[in-house]
Subunit: 344 residues, 2 copies
């Protein structure tokens, strides 16, 4: 398995000590759009009177009719001084939204600002069923029930705490991973970022992400966790439009029968710390590494970086929020520069 050289990690460490917080962000434009989705017809339901606002005037709401469903939301920020060769698309993980890449739960700058300040046009999105994408009736349209997470669940599952029972409402009483970089004091804010999810909307999500790429054009995709499946499968569907893939702890991978489609797309996989201490992450990582091997066997190029092996320690599954998030972003930025994906 190829890994980034220690030398480049050292360069990253130096670069990450430069702070940008005081510099203004100059945008040539910012905005948003929805993309994708389909129309669904519902019939045979009774008409309701709905008073939308207390003291307001009741309106007839006929639930029968045509509904727009399965679209997604994209917010974009285009820097005045563009330095990326292609737009950078940020795709969040399961039960989350584009907020993942915004301000960290303890109030520091996230990867959205980081990459924007580095001169990338950044497209940050909410996938189908999440956040500003909206969601549809279930079980009429969405199948199955949504999943809600307790306040303790991500703490124990995302390698922030040291396994089951590590969470406590009192931050001082939590059993954090030793040397954890997660901002424990902001954990309550991270919990507020969680949104309900279904486990039945993968096809719709992939279709919407493809629609996003068809609209934006040639691009680089940085994707996290659940979006491992989406990032690789969408790249397999549009290999001509995806110029690089950055997989942050992918929880799923692409179609093993179509790895050939990925052979011309430089790919970086990044894993954090504590993988071996966890009950699930060794297998999840192994699935990702096996997929990387399959891409390489087809003639592709994949760099797998286990952060601790390049001296970056303490990272949880939410490394874009960890206290050293700029250091991890710096490693990605260095990789992108090394692949010739920045403008000279």
């Amino acid at each position: 398995m190829r890994r980034l050289a220690i030398a480049s990690a050292a360069a990253v460490l130096m670069a990450s000590t430069v702070t940008h917080a005081a510099e203004p962000i100059a945008l040539r434009d910012m905005g948003s759009f929805h993309v994708g989705g389909r129309l669904v017809v519902i019939t045979g339901k009774p008409v309701k009177d709905v008073t939308f606002t207390p003291g307001g005037v009741p309106a007839k709401v006929d639930p029968n009719g045509t509904y727009q469903v399965e679209q997604m939301y994209v917010q974009y920020f285009l820097p005045q001084n563009e330095k990326g060769a292609y737009p950078l698309l940020l795709w969040h993980g399961g039960g989350l939204t584009g907020v993942t890449y915004e301000t960290t739960p303890d109030g520091r700058e996230g990867w959205l600002n980081y990459f924007l300040r580095k001169g990338w046009s950044v497209y940050n999105s909410d996938a189908v069923e999440r956040g500003r994408a909206g969601w549809a009736q279930y079980p009429d349209i969405f199948k199955g029930e949504p999943v809600f997470l307790t306040t303790a669940n991500p703490f124990e599952r995302f390698r922030i705490g040291d396994g089951p029972g590590s969470y406590d409402p009192d931050p001082a009483k939590r059993k954090l991973m030793p040397g954890s970089q997660f901002p424990n004091e902001g954990y309550e804010n991270f919990v507020k970022q969680n949104v309900p999810r279904w486990t039945t909307n993968d096809d719709a999500t992939i279709a919407a992400y493809i629609a996003e790429i068809d609209r934006v054009g040639p691009c680089i995709i940085l994707f996290h966790s659940q979006a491992g499946t989406f990032g690789f499968k969408v790249a397999q569907a549009r290999p001509d439009k995806v110029k690089a893939l950055i997989a942050i702890e992918p929880a799923g991978v692409g179609d093993p029968a179509k790895v050939d489609a990925l052979k011309n797309i430089p790919t970086l996989m990044v894993y954090g710390d504590y993988i071996e201490r966890d009950s699930r992450w060794p297998k999840i990582r192994a699935t990702g590494v096996a997929f990387a091997d399959a891409i390489r066997a087809a003639g592709g190029s994949v760099d797998v970086v286990d952060l601790p092996t390049v001296g970056i320690k303490g990272n949880s599954h939410m490394m874009m929020m960890d206290k050293n998030n700029a250091e991890v972003a710096g490693l990605i930025q260095t990789w992108l520069e090394g692949k010739g994906l920045t403008r000279k």
Copy 2:
């Protein structure tokens, strides 16, 4: 009833002909946060095995436990050259999110960019239960069922089309209000912005908005439609922190017993066109106007502007998206300047 003078409307018309699209937006910072909400404990439910990603590793999900609910999401943009005396908070209407104020459905700049370019620090938010705020289990936590809207519903209810039956999937066959400024060709994109809503979360929404104000500090609130109730009630709860209110077609009002709390807060109410043609809007407007009268009777100052009477015609309920949205924003900007709420 006092109204803005025709002279100031003419000044607005001239100002609105100046385009800003080519100028960069310089931000000293941008970011987001969640605020408010509470913890709810659920007990007595069975544990589930959930495979979050196809091919992934099943995880135990115990639905019993503590849930974070009823928080809200706020995204902020702080201009490098600040000209507003206070931050400007944008609150969306029912079944919508902060996307209301972003790029219009036909791809033009929305009010978020407009006021940011005018030098306001803008805080755009998703209220409780909407968009990136997330939503909670029902009926366990949220009471009642969510309301979903057909593609036709907003067209016929927001004075875009000329009443029931005016919508058609084919844009060319729709019966628009005569002279409508709504971007009919972008209506499908507007439908994609709609998200499910409950009618039972007003108290939680008000609590979260109060938490937003307690965090941001002294501010001006621009609110739309359903948020009429929220804007006025929150101002009544925090009259010392609210420096001006801009009510865009408020669908509800504050507590009539507490109008005294609003007497020192300069207030602007704006109504669009076609009110009299609609079955519901004459009464909704009358409720707003009566509330304005009550505030004035308590010694307060409210300007009620019916846009057609100042020469601005064709506006739907979604005037922030209408083709003349910059003209309407210009009227608001002029009003704010007239109230001394911009820096000299």
